[in-house]
Every structure is written in C-alpha cells, then in structure tokens.
C-alpha cells in the first residue's frame, strides 16, 4: 500500500464527506439534486480508485453502477418529478443552517473517535474508509432529520446509502454479494420512491411530509 494510493483514497473519501456537508447546506431542491449528483460522482471515483488499489475487478462494476445510476439517472428522474410536482421554488428547512453545520461537525468528530479507537489492528485504509463512511451515514441521517420535503428526505437517504457503498468497498475482499445487494437496494429504493411520490402527489397535491402527517392514524 504505497503512500500515493493511500493519499488519493484518503482524499476521495474526505471529499465525499465534504460534499455531504455541502448537501446539508443547500435549501433549494435543484441545488440539492446537483450536489447529490456530485456526491455520487465522487463516490464512483473513490470506488474506482479502490478497485484499482485492491485490483478487485468487481469493484469497477459497482463504480459503474454508482456512476450510471446514482450520478445520472436518479438526479434526472428526480429533476423531472420536481418539475411535474411544481415544488422547485419551495424552501423547507426545519433547523437553521448554523445549527445543522455544527451538528454535522459534531457527528464527524464522533464517528472519527468511535471508528479510529475501535479499529486499531485493521489496516489504515480500511480504518479511514470506515470512519469517513460512518460520517457520511450520520450526515445523511442528519439531513433526513432536518428536512420537511419528501424529496429531500429521499436524497438524504440516498446519500446515506452512498456512505454504505463507501464502507462496503473499504472492506477489502467483501464478496460480490454485497455489491449486488447495495445496487439492489438502490434500484428498489428508486422504484418505490417513484411510485410513492406519484401516488402521494395524486392524493394530496403536495409532497410536503407535514401535510402528510395531518392524516396520521387516530388523529381524528
């Protein structure tokens, strides 16, 4: 594991966390989608680089799926959904940007402490990847928690899945089964979300989760 390989992998994983932060910052839907595409792009690059370092050909497949699906197809589809739903101008943040950022930093610090302290023996690259992956997962969760709009929640969830893909690739030699399953989940997630969004749209002519909440069971 020469220095350069480690540094690049380190750089890519770090930039993935940085993009997650940027996503957290956005409050416009369009900008959010663009940053999500960037997020998927960086992920694809990182996976590809991992494939190159570990010379594990199957990782290239994952990188391709990540690039093709997540970076291109899903943002475009979501883009079209937003246009049809006509919600592109809405601003919907629950928590102020400042607090979200502070929370994000806290989470990253927490994941660093937890992961690095725990994985002493494992090789440095895997440790780094896991730490960054946990950070991305926590940031994804934070994004889901601080958003009202169903689409942004889904984007938060997908960036969380990206963190998982990063973790999976970081674990050297994890059999192909994992890659398929991760991809498998993206596919299902996307289809289901699509169906949901349309049906939700049909039913309540808005996709704001808060309106949805009014119809919780037993409320009336």
């Amino acid at each position: 594991m020469t220095g350069i390989d480690f540094d690049t992998a380190h750089l890519l994983a770090g930039s993935l966390v940085l993009v997650s932060f940027l996503e957290l910052y956005q409050d416009r839907l369009y900008a959010l989608l663009n940053f999500y595409a960037l997020h998927a792009l960086v992920l694809a690059a990182s996976v590809a680089w991992q494939a190159f370092i570990q010379d594990a050909p199957h990782l290239y497949v994952t990188a391709a799926i990540a690039l093709g699906f997540k970076a291109i197809v899903i943002p475009v589809a979501l883009h079209r959904i937003i246009v049809r739903l006509g919600i592109h101008r809405e601003i919907e943040k629950v928590v102020g940007v400042g607090t979200a950022m502070l929370a994000g930093i806290g989470l990253v610090a927490l994941s660093m402490v937890v992961m690095l302290r725990v994985t002493q023996e494992a090789d440095p690259l895997a440790r780094e990847d896991l730490a960054f992956a946990l950070a991305v997962v926590l940031l994804g969760l934070l994004m889901m928690v601080t958003r009202r709009n169903a689409v942004s929640q889904v984007v938060g969830f997908m960036s969380l899945e990206n963190g998982l893909v990063l973790a999976a690739t970081g674990a050297k030699g994890m059999p192909l089964v994992v890659e398929i399953s991760v991809a498998f989940s993206i596919l299902i997630a996307f289809i289901v979300i699509g169906i949901f969004l349309f049906r939700i749209r049909e039913r309540f002519d808005t996709v704001d989760v808060q309106v949805l909440d009014l119809f919780r069971g037993e409320r009336r």
């Binding site: 302290r117 002493q120 059999p175 949901f196």
Partner: protein
C-alpha cells in the same frame, strides 16, 4: 427417496416453492384460484419445512439449518399456512365490499408469497449479507402490502414504515460490514468470512471492541425491525392500516425473523468473552419497550393498534430475557417468541373477524361481542388471556421463568418488568371490557369466515402451556446454552 437427495430439496424447496408461487400468482387473474393456490403453496412449504425436522442438510455456503432456525422455519411456515387460510376468506370479504380491486388482490397474493420466500431465506441463510438482503426484501414487500388500501392513513403508514425501515436496514448493513471487517483479519477475505458456521467457530479471536460497535449498529438496525421502543414508530400504524392477514404475519413472523437475526449476532458475541455489548443494551431497550408499550395501551382507540403495542411490549420482554442471559432466561425467551407469534396471530385473526363483523376498527363503536358472536367473543377473550400471560396458556411459563430467574440476580430490573407486565395486563383488559362485554353496540353482520386457524393456534399455545414435547425442549435448551 434417498435422504440426502430429499433433504437438499427440502431446504431448497422451502425457498423455491414460494418463489415460483409468487411468479405464478402474479399472472393468475381469477381470485378464487389465486386464493387456493396461495394456500396450496404455503402447505407445500410447510411440508418441506417439516421434512427438515427429520434430516438436516449439510450447511452449504449460502444455506444452513441448525437447532435455532429449525424450529423457527417450521413456526414461520406454519403461521404462514394458517394465515393464508384466514386471508383466503378475509380477502374474499374485502373484495365483496369493494375495499380491494382484483388487480390489487393479485398483487397481494404475489407479494404474500415473496414475503414467505424472503422470510424463509432470512432464516436459513448462512451468509450474513444474504440474510440482510432477505430481511430488506421482506421489509419492502410488507411496505407495499401496508399501502395496498390506498387510503390516506395507509399511505402515510407505508411511507413512515419505508423511511424508518430503510434507515434501520442501512444501519444493519453498516453493522454487517463491521462484522466482516472484524472477521477478515482472522478468517481472511471472501465468502467464508461471512458464513455463520465459520464466524461462530472463530469468533473468539475477533477484536471485541469492533464487535461491540458492530452490535450497536446491528441492534439499532434489526431492532427497528423488531419494534423496540425508541425505534418502534412504524409498527402500530403499519399494523393498523395494512390488511389483517399482513398484520398477523407482521406481528407473528417478521418481528421474530428480525429478532432471530439479532440472536445470531448475540450468539456470535457470546463466543467472544470480552465482548460485553449485548447484555446491558438489550436489557435497557427491552425494559424501555415493555414499560412504554404497556402505558400506550390505555388511550388506544383502534383495536389493531392496541394489539400492535402489545406486540412491542412482548418483544420488549423477549429482548429483556435474552439480554439477561443464562439458560433459564434464554429458554424463556425462545419459548416466549414461539408462543407470542402463535397467540398474536390468533388474536389478529379474531380482530380481523371483529373488524369485518362490526365494520369498523374503532373500539368505541364495538361492544357486547360475547352476546352477538359468542364463539368469536370467547376466542378473543382466550387470546387476550393468553397474551396477558395468564396460566393455562404458554406465555405464563415464559414470564414465570424470566421474572423468577431475574429477581434473584437483579431485583430492581425484575420489579420494573413486573410493573410493566401488570400495567399492560390492566390496559389490555380495560379495552377488552369495552369490546367483549356490556351492551352490544354497532352493527353485527354474520361472520362467515372460518375460526379454525384461530382456535388451532390457541389450542397449540394451551397445549404448550401444559406439556412440551421433549424434542422441542431439548432444542430450546441447547440453543439457550449457545446464546450465553
């Protein structure tokens, strides 16, 4: 029929039959035929599962049948079989009153078989990744089934179930990856670093700190699927809004499958002496859910949501039992899992009939069930008596073992648990009074569905409460030893 030939088919059969049945059902138009086919498929799966009892196949790279999942496979297929009989008449009635259109019924039956496939796969998967995929598939099918009625609440419940389920599953995947990370330096890369048989044999050498972190993620991930307290939000609404057979399968089986996954990982950690995570974590979450759900029973207005919270409470008690550990408590936990799934599905069968007979699920609009429908009324009472943990039925034995073995070691915990059980019993019977007794309220149509599944379950639980077959006891005790 050579043994090895048959047995290999049996474990494969348990998977193949539901898979191809699902495919077949997706295309069959007529409701009459699909309902019968559904029952036929579950019967065949049950037969395969029973044949597993007699000859266990060698664990392969992807499939494994041992003491722990042997019994749960049979339980899952049996409850699946009885629920399919119940759902045949239930869905038929839903079709008549127009709550479901034929295409949706076709979708329902297909999804039902996919769910069976997913659960069976999760139970006998030898590879932790494969198990994760199976549970993820089971969650997605139930999400679609919950949303099948397309009412506002159903969609909201499905959407909530999807979001929380996916977050839970994501955490579980992260936990699985961490377990793989811990296994890799000891076992090396590739498939066998994710196989239960190999993992359990070599777990003593894993890094305990990493295993603890992994268990935290696994507990939160699969704990969401089990419905433990802070992560339970999806369960009541999913039960209340989905069709009743699905609530029965959800409460009876899916919670067990998720808890089974947790047990597998707890067995893993039990082998590693330094790993301490499972005990205190599971005890706190278990107690929290038992007491929290007990209090939630009082203000419930919807009958299915009431029994959903009762499921959360029982899952809390079971997790508490496994958290305490020791042969007695583990045996009690395993027994409680089996008894709870049988009783809760029987209760949901009864609730299904009640909802159809009274035309509503609001407890305020029903009353005097004993007078209008004596058999159904007494069936529901017997179910509630069983779920409250009163004697002749099986759950009393498990609660007896858990409370008495815990009180000697940790008196305060036992007192909190007893408080939870008592508050839950009071809440359950308070609601039962307004449903079963008093002046008959609300419409009372004639219930034409069969009561056979309900009473078979209650008869089994009654039998287990009095006499347990030695083979079953031996398995449970053996597994209780393994669980540490």
């Amino acid at each position: 029929m050579t043994f090895d030939g048959v047995t290999f088919n049996a474990s494969a059969g348990v998977l193949l039959i539901p898979a191809c049945a699902a495919a077949l059902l997706a295309v069959m138009p007529d409701y009459r035929v699909t309902a019968r086919l559904n029952v036929l498929a579950t019967t065949l799966t049950l037969i395969c599962a029973l044949s597993l009892f007699f000859g266990r196949p060698q664990p392969s790279a992807y499939l494994l049948v041992d003491d722990l999942n042997g019994t749960f496979i049979v339980l899952t297929t049996f409850v699946g079989f009885t629920t399919s009989i119940f759902s045949a008449s239930y869905i038929g009635h839903e079709l008549e009153i127009g709550r479901l259109t034929p295409p949706f019924v076709r979708f329902y039956h297909a999804m039902y078989q996919v769910l069976m496939f997913a659960m069976n796969l999760a139970l006998i998967a030898n590879n932790i990744g494969l198990m994760w995929v199976a549970i993820e598939l089971a969650t997605l099918t139930t999400v679609l089934m919950v949303g099948i009625y397309r009412t506002h609440e159903a969609l909201e419940a499905a959407w909530k179930y999807f979001i929380l389920g996916s977050v839970g599953i994501a955490l579980a995947l992260f936990g699985t990856i961490l377990v793989y990370m811990a296994a890799r330096p000891v076992i090396g890369e590739g498939l066998d670093a994710m196989e239960w048989t190999v993992l359990v044999s070599r777990a003593a050498a894993f890094d305990p700190a990493l295993l603890d972190v992994a268990f935290v993620f696994l507990l939160l991930g699969y704990g969401t699927k089990v419905g433990l307290a802070p992560l339970h939000a999806w369960l009541p609404d999913a039960h209340a809004e989905g069709p009743t057979p699905i609530s029965a399968v959800l409460s009876g089986l899916l919670l067990n499958v998720a808890l089974y996954a947790l047990l597998r990982f707890k067995m893993l950690l039990a082998v590693n002496p330094e790993a301490l995570a499972p005990g205190p974590l599971m005890v706190t979450l278990g107690l929290l859910s038992a007491v929290f759900a007990a209090f939630m029973l009082y203000r419930r207005r919807d009958i299915k949501r009431l029994f959903a919270y009762s499921s959360i409470e029982h899952m809390g008690i079971i997790t508490f039992a496994f958290g305490m550990g020791g042969p007695l408590a583990n045996f009690a936990g395993l027994l409680h899992m089996t008894m709870h799934s049988l009783t809760k599905s029987a209760i949901f069968f009864a609730v299904g009939h009640v909802a159809q007979v009274k035309g509503t699920q609001r407890i305020a609009d029903m009353g005097g069930l004993i007078e209008t429908h004596p058999v159904l009324g007494w069936g529901l009472i017997l179910g509630v008596v069983a779920i409250a943990g009163l004697p002749p039925l099986g759950i009393f034995m498990s609660e007896f073992l858990v409370v008495s073995s815990t009180f000697a070691r940790a008196p305060l915990l036992a007192i909190i648990l007893v408080f939870g059980i008592l508050v839950a019993l009071a809440g359950l019977f308070l609601r039962l009074n307004s449903i079963a007794f008093g002046e008959p309220r609300g419409p009372s149509a004639k219930a034409e569905a069969s009561y056979v599944p309900m009473f078979t379950h209650l008869a089994l639980v009654l039998a287990a409460g009095i006499y347990m077959p030695p083979a079953l006891v031996a398995w449970f005790q053996n597994v209780a030893g393994l669980l540490g």
